[in-house]
């Protein structure tokens, strides 16, 4: 077994030296960072231009009823010929013309916005909402509801649900579902991505050795099992380095991007951090005495962030990440050994892809309902547990469930490695033969 270190070393170094590794290392965080930064950035860029819209209201119901916004101004024009006006509204300084026909209250299609530029969704929703509200108003008034304005004011109830989770000892923990969802979804998806990405690297490595015909030279020096495990562990090292690079680069990109695009936010944030680190009490005082709505919200988020146990999440992520990868890595190695080239792997891929895709489906369900029976079972069964359990953990999972899931994952890893090694050592020396599942079973029994 002492030679396995040379194999791990080679598998690791040759991959780290490849250009594609560094391209992925840089591109991945850029993608993640741009997913975080760009939408925020674009939302601030959007609609700096003020659009003045002429409203031609032949129903006369909506005069001065559509509120102006920062970027949208509505002007009511009367006594115009709509057909002629559509042709020359731009010369009169309007961005568009909103035409409301007099049948608007019973024919919803009778409102039209004419413009030369494409109107965005925000414009559409703003106008639709304003008109809808006014129509509702009128219907309510027509049905004779008294004190209309008061009733409407009362209808605007504002509920901001604070969620406090009790653990077994009765301690209170403020939880933020959205945050748990994001952390859970991100970790589950990352594990899925890495299993596929690096599992197929193992598979391609095995095929390469077979196709190059170097395999027989190597197995005359080391045992096939050492070669297989060396490859899987070497690629695991590559995956870890890739992952760490992603985290480091993403964090620096996000903070650099924040400083670049939103200097105010990053300043405000750092001030908040200072407050919290200076006195832990601040947060508690806040939470006990919420003074206004926005303060209440901020309190909830900070309480939740404080209550996410990053150590538990990070260490369980590493465990399920490695466990899941090792389990699937062995299967991918076996698939690679059965094929002469990558196209041949398709027929064996299905049994491996199905549990992974199933895990992604269950993951979406789990985010909405982390304690359901479905989520429970899929987070215990080893083939799906690395993904599904990682989604559940940020929501809080009883320790015995995590422990059971981990023990089963280790057991499954040992079993699948043993199983794959049996297939692998027979299949790597076979060429030009499509092996059926029946035949694989036969080798399995005889070897």
């Amino acid at each position: 077994m002492k030679k396995i270190k040379y194999i791990i070393q080679r598998e690791f170094l040759t991959r780290i030296q490849r250009k594609s590794f560094w391209v992925m290392a840089l591109l991945g965080p850029f993608l993640i960072a741009s997913v975080i930064i760009l939408p925020i950035y674009f939302s601030t860029l959007e609609d700096k231009e003020v659009k003045v819209i002429a409203v031609v209201d032949s129903s006369r119901v909506f005069v001065d009823r559509i509120p102006d916004t920062q970027n949208l101004k509505f002007r009511y024009v009367e006594n115009v010929n709509i057909a002629r006006f559509i042709k020359n509204f731009q010369e009169e300084g309007y961005w568009g013309v909103l035409f409301i026909s007099h049948v608007v209250t019973y024919s919803p299609n009778s409102v039209i916005l004419y413009s030369h530029g494409q109107a965005g969704l925000t414009v559409k929703y703003h106008i639709e909402n304003a008109l809808k509200k006014e129509i509702e108003h009128r219907i309510l008034a027509a049905n004779g509801i008294e004190d209309l304005n008061k009733t409407l004011e009362a209808l605007k109830a504002n509920v901001n649900l604070r969620m406090i989770k009790l653990d077994e000892k009765g301690n209170q923990k403020e939880s933020n579902t959205i945050l748990a969802m994001i952390v859970g979804y991100a970790s589950g998806f990352l594990i899925y991505l890495f299993i596929f990405l690096f599992g197929s690297q193992v598979m391609r490595g095995v095929i390469e050795e077979k196709a190059n015909r170097i395999i027989e030279v190597i197995v005359s020096s080391v045992r096939p099992f050492e070669l297989m495990m060396g490859k899987i562990l070497g690629v695991a090292g590559v995956a870890l380095v890739q992952f760490i690079l992603w985290i480091v680069i993403t964090f620096s990109l996000v903070s650099a991007g924040r400083a670049l695009f939103f200097p105010e936010i990053s300043r405000a944030n750092s001030e908040e951090v200072i407050i919290h680190s200076n006195s832990g009490k601040t947060v508690n005082e806040f939470s006990q005495l919420p003074q206004n709505e926005s303060e209440l919200k901020a309190t909830a988020v900070f309480e939740a962030i404080k209550n996410i146990d990053f150590f538990v999440i990070l260490s369980s992520f590493l465990f399920f990440f490695l466990g899941g990868y090792l389990l699937y890595g062995a299967l991918f190695a076996a698939i690679g050994s059965l094929a002469d080239n990558e196209a041949d792997t398709q027929q064996y891929m299905l049994p491996v892809t199905i549990p992974l895709i199933l895990a992604i489906y269950v993951m979406i369900n789990t985010i909405n309902n982390p304690d359901s029976a479905l989520s429970f079972w899929f987070s215990i069964i080893p083939l799906t547990s690395p993904i599904v359990m990682m989604v559940r953990i940020p929501f809080g999972v009883p320790y015995w469930e995590v422990a059971l899931s981990m023990i089963l994952l280790i057991a499954a890893f040992v079993f699948f490695t043993w199983f794959s090694a049996k297939i692998y050592r027979t299949a790597i020396l076979m060429y030009g033969k499509q092996v059926s599942y029946k035949e694989i079973w036969k080798w399995f029994k005889y070897s």
Binding site: K3, Y6, I7, R10, T14, E208, E209, N212, R213, I214, E216, V217, I218, V219, S220, S221, V222, R223, L429, Y431, K442, Y446
Partner: protein, 305 residues
């Protein structure tokens, strides 16, 4: 003393019997030929010796003890299906393969340097394998097979992939290795290509060893008592000198001013009978006994079973 001994080795793949109670011995310091047609079981035998696969039955002894995993460090194997990592550097790759054979990094570097200079390929160290021609890659492959000074070298169809220049180089290097004390096993279906090199052989056909032993002994056993006679003089007198009850004239061809005759003796030659009969009739220029080629012996043995 024998470096390698196979004793009743059998191997089955499913229903197919790849090796059926194969036994032979390889004397230390000799060149041994494992000969037989394609699909006879040669590669399976070599894989068992290299411990790539395990036999179902029987035993293999190496240097007097039962074959064990550490023995791979003392063997060098050039498989029929051979190749290198295309994207890896030549030197780096040779170093890796040498380390897998159990050499330390510094030892491997020293020995690789020696071999790279010997085969005049030192300039390729930093090249990628994909930049090499096939012939160049074969030289690198040969180096990785011998770099760890194996006591037993195993070549499967060694000359099939090599061009004539590299084949000659390979032959010379192998003979030198033999003179330095290494034992060499050749495996090939092209029997005549290695018989001049081999000291002993095993003929293998349909999973069974049908003949094995010293090459000279085997050839003597299977010789047909055919002689080649080159002479000048009268063709008539030559024909007349051969007594048809003892000799059979197979062919007689004029060759410039001479004749080349093939004569088969009907009994066992004891006392230069052929020479004695013709020596007074024609002028004998050369005389030699024709020994059978390995492929002829093979066909005869296969037919005889």
């Amino acid at each position: 003393m024998n470096i390698l001994e196979l004793n009743q080795v059998s191997k089955k793949f499913g229903q197919h019997c790849a090796l059926d109670r194969v036994s032979f011995t390889v004397p230390r310091g000799s060149i041994f030929g494992l000969l037989g047609p394609n699909g006879a079981g040669k590669t399976t035998t070599l894989r068992i010796i290299n411990q790539i696969i395990a036999p179902d039955e029987g035993e293999v002894f190496f240097e007097g003890h039962k074959l064990c995993p550490d023995d791979v460090a003392k063997m060098g194997y050039l498989p029929e299906e051979r190749g290198l990592y295309k994207k890896m550097g030549v030197g780096e790759q040779a170093l890796y393969l040498a380390q897998l054979k159990g050499l330390s990094r510094s030892e491997a570097l020293k020995k690789l340097k020696f071999w790279f200079e010997k085969l005049e390929i030192a300039g390729w160290w930093d090249k990628k394998v994909e930049q090499l021609s096939k012939g160049m890659a074969q030289k690198v492959q040969f180096v990785t097979t011998v770099v760890h000074d194996p006591a037993l070298l195993i070549f499967d169809e060694p000359f099939s992939g090599f061009d004539p220049i590299n084949a000659l180089m390979l032959k010379n290097e192998i003979l030198e290795l033999k003179n330095n004390g290494a034992t060499i096993i050749f495996s090939t279906h092209n029997m005549n290509s290695v018989e001049e090199l081999c000291d002993s052989i095993a003929l293998i056909n349909r999973s069974k060893v049908i003949l094995d032993g010293d090459v000279d002994v085997i050839k003597q056993r299977y010789k047909k008592h055919i002689f080649e006679l080159v002479f000048s003089g009268s063709e008539e007198r030559f024909r007349g000198s051969l007594n048809p009850s003892f000799f059979e004239l197979i062919s007689l061809k004029p060759q410039q001013s001479m004749f080349r005759a093939m004569v088969k003796m009907k009994g066992k030659p004891v006392d230069n009978e052929l020479l004695k009969s013709v020596i007074d009739e024609v002028h004998v220029i050369s005389f030699r006994e024709i020994l059978p080629g390995m492929d002829e012996i093979f066909i005869e043995v296969v037919k005889g079973i």
